[in-house]
Amino acid sequence: MAGHSSYVPSNGFTRWIDARLPLPRLVYDSFVAYPVPRNLNYAYTFGGILALFLAVQILTGVVLAMHYAAATGLAFQSVEAIMRDVNWGWLLRYMHANGASFFFIAVYLHMFRNFYYGSYKAPREVLYILGVIIFLLMMATAFMGYVLPWGQMSFWGATVITGFFTAFPIIGDPIQQLLLGGFAVDNATLNRFFSLHYLLPFMIAGVVILHVWALHVVGQTNPTGVEVKSPRDTVPFTPQATVKDGFAMVVFLFVFAWFVFYIPNFLGHPDNYTPANALKTPAHIVPEWYFLPFYAMLRAITFNIGPIDSKLGGVLVMFGSIIVLFFLPWLDTSRVRSTAFRPIYKIFYWILVADCILLGWLGSRPAEGIYPTLSLIGTIYYFAHWLIVLPVVGLIETPRKLPNSIAEAVLGPDRGLGTGTGHGAAPTGAVTAPQVKG
C-alpha cells in the first residue's frame, strides 16, 4: 500500500524513465497495484464517474469556447449558431449542458455514499474537506456557466444570486458591484463570468488531484467501515476495480446519452431560450435543479431573527447549509463508521435523504401557500440532522457488532483465504446482512 512500491520496470526504456521521472511507477502504484477493499459496492463507483465527467465538461467546454462570443449582444446568437451551424455543435452543447447536470447527479450520489458509510470520519477528514471544496467550486462553475447563454434565466439567475451579497450590511452593495463590474448584470459581468467559468474547472482538476492523493494515503472506506487490516481484505485496483468502475461508467453514460439525444432540454428551463431582457422578469425564477434544495432553504427564512433581517437570514442559512458540511468529521461522535451498523442513525439518514429531496421539490415551487412553511420545516431538519442528530445519536446508540475484518465480513468467520466459491451476489454470513438492509 502507501509507502512501498511494487512496480518493476519491464524493459530498458521504462527503467531509464523510472530513474528520471517515475511517472509510470506513479500510475502503476495508483491505478494498477493500488489495493482496494474487496467488498466495495457500486455506490463506490461514482468517484471514477466524476473524473470522467470532469473530463467531458472540460473537453466540450474548450471546443464550445471556440465558437462562443462573451458579449451581451452576441452571446445568445453565438450559442444558437453553435446549435444550428457548427458541425456537431448541437451535440457538443447538449453534452455540456446535460453533462453539468449529470456531474451533479454523480456528485450527490458520491456525497450521500460518503454520509452513509461515514467516509468523512478520521483519518479521512482532509480527503473529505477537499471534496466539499470541489463541490463548492462545482457550484460556482455551474452557476457562471448557466449565465453564458444569456437567456432570461441566465440573466435573472445571475441577478438573484449576486443579489445575495446585498444582504450583508454595509459591505454588501460594494461587494455586489465588485462582482458585477457595474450596477447590474451586464456585459462586464458576462465577460468575467466567462473568464472564471473557463478557469474554475482547472482549479477543480487541481483539487481533484489532491483529493485522489489524499485518498491514496488513507485508503478507501468500505461498506463495513472496518479498516483494511491485511492483504486478504483487498483486491488490486486493476483489473477488479477498473472493470467494475468501467462498467458503472458505461451504464451512467447510457443514461446520459438518453438525455443528451432524446430529451436534451428536460433538465433545462424553457425561459432560457428567450434572450435576456433586463426589463422583464420571467414569471418564476427557478435555478437549475441541482441548486433547488439550497434555494428552498434561502426562501424558507421569511421572518426576522432578532437583529438579522429575513433576507440576510436566508442567505446565511443557505451558505450555512454548506459550511456545516465542513464540520461533519467532528460532529459525528459515533465510534462506528458505517451507518449499516447503526440502527438508529440509519433511520435518520434516510430522513435526511427524504428531506433533501423534499427541499429540492419545494425549491421548484412558487413561494406561496404551504410551501414556505414546509421549506422551513425541511431547513430546520437539515440543520438539526447535522448539529443535533449526528452528535447525539452517536453517543446514545448501541451499534451492531462489527466484523473483525473485511475478509471475515465477506467470507464469514470460519472461511479462509479469498478463494471463496460464492459469487459476489451471495455474500455469506450474518455479518453482511446489515448492508443489505440499507
Binding site: R113, F266, D271, Y273, H284, S364, H423, Q435
Partner: protein, 319 residues
C-alpha cells in the same frame, strides 16, 4: 444484494432531478387550489375550469389566491418527430412554412433561421434561391455610404417584419410579437408530478409544439364569469402567462391554400405551423435522434460486454 443500497440511493436522487423542469404548477396541489383539475395532459378538457377567485369550494377561504396559467393544459398530439425514431414530415413542414410565411410573418420575426437551411424541408437549391429572392433585405453601405435594398439570398436570415423591437411594440399596442425562432423550445407548460417522471422514459419533449398548437386553436371559448379580460386582449385558456393575450386569433379556415389536398382547417394549420416551428427551433432534431440510436445501442452492447468481463474478472473472488 450489496448493490441494493446504491440502487436506492440512485433512485432517490433521480427523483429529485427532474424538478428542474418544474416552473409553475398549473395543476396546483390541493392546499392552495382545491378546484383546479386537469392533471393528465391527455385530458385537457373543459372541466378544468378557471380557478374560482371567490375560492369557496373547499370550505376554506383562500386569502392570497394565486391563479396559475395556463388555465388549460394543451393536448399531447402525435408528432412525426416524437420518440426514438422521430423524423420530419417534410410535406407538413412545407405547409407549415407556408402558414408562417403567409400569416405569422406579418408580425413575427424568425431572426435565427437562415433561408439556406430550408433545404432540409425538401427544397432544391434553386427553389431556396427563388424563395429567398421574394424577400428584400437591407445591405450596405455601398460605395457612396448609402444603405440599399437588395433581393435576399439563401445565406440571409428571414427578414423581420419590423426594424426593431420598439417598432414592433409600437405597431401592436405595446406588445411586441415574440420572435418565433425558438418559440417551440421557449414555451412549455409544466407537466406536473408524476407525469414529468414518466416523460423521461417516454421521451416526451414536444411540450413546445403542443403548446403552440393549443394556443392557436384555443381562441373563441367562453371565459368563466369571473375572468377579467382586459380591453384589446383575447381570451385564450391555453395562454401560458395570463387569461388573455394581445394576439387576435391569427388563423381561420381556408386562409392559406394547400396545394397537396390537405384539409384547410385551423386545427391543421396549427399542427403544421407548430411542426414547422419545432424544426425552426431545433433543425438538427432528427439527426440528433438518429445519432442517439447508434450511441444508445453501442453503449448497451458495450455495457453488456463489460459486465461479462467484470463477472469473469471477479470470478472466484468473494466480495
Amino acid at each position: 444484494m450489496k448493490t441494493l443500497l446504491s440502487a436506492v440511493l440512485a433512485a432517490g436522487l433521480l427523483s429529485t432531478m427532474p424538478l428542474a423542469n418544474a416552473q409553475q404548477d398549473a395543476v396546483t396541489p390541493a392546499p392552495t387550489q382545491p378546484e383546479a383539475g386537469a392533471a393528465a395532459p391527455a385530458a385537457p378538457a373543459g372541466e378544468a375550469v378557471a380557478p374560482d377567485a371567490a375560492g369557496g369550494h373547499g370550505g376554506e377561504a383562500e386569502e392570497h389566491h394565486t391563479v396559475h396559467y395556463p388555465l388549460k393544459h394543451p393536448a399531447s398530439l402525435d408528432w412525426s418527430f416524437a420518440g426514438m425514431f422521430g423524423h420530419w414530415d417534410v410535406a407538413q413542414l412545407q405547409r407549415g412554412l407556408k402558414v408562417y410565411k403567409e400569416v405569422c410573418s406579418a408580425c413575427h420575426s424568425m431572426n435565427l433561421v437562415a433561408m439556406r437551411s430550408l433545404g432540409a424541408l425538401g427544397y432544391s437549391e434553386e427553389q431556396v434561391k427563388a424563395f429567398a429572392a421574394e424577400y428584400t433585405v437591407q445591405d450596405g453601405p455601398n460605395g457612396d455610404g448609402e444603405m440599399f435594398e437588395r433581393k435576399a439570398i439563401p445565406s440571409d436570415h428571414f427578414p423581420a417584419p419590423y426594424p426593431n423591437p420598439e417598432a414592433a411594440a409600437a405597431a401592436n399596442n405595446g406588445a411586441a410579437p415574440p420572435d418565433l425562432s425558438l418559440i417551440a423550445k421557449g414555451r412549455a407548460v409544466e407537466r406536473g408530478f408524476p407525469t414529468f417522471i414518466f416523460d423521461i422514459f417516454t421521451q416526451y419533449a414536444e411540450s413546445g409544439p403542443d403548446y403552440v398548437h393549443g394556443l392557436l386553436t384555443g381562441y373563441g371559448q367562453e371565459p368563466a364569469a369571473d375572468v377579467v379580460i382586459q380591453p384589446g386582449t383575447y381570451y385564450n385558456p391555453y395562454f401560458i402567462s395570463g387569461p388573455a393575450l394581445a394576439m387576435p386569433p391569427p388563423l381561420s379556415a381556408d386562409q392559406v391554400t394547400y396545394d397537396d389536398g390537405t384539409q384547410q382547417t385551423v386545427d391543421q394549420y396549427a399542427r403544421d405551423v407548430s411542426a414547422f416551428l419545432m424544426w425552426a427551433a431545433e433543425p438538427h432534431l432528427v439527426e440528433r435522434k438518429q445519432t442517439g440510436l447508434i450511441v444508445i445501442l453501442f453503449l448497451a452492447v458495450f455495457a453488456g460486454m463489460l459486465y461479462i468481463v467484470k463477472r469473469r474478472v471477479w470470478d472466484g473472488i468473494a466480495h
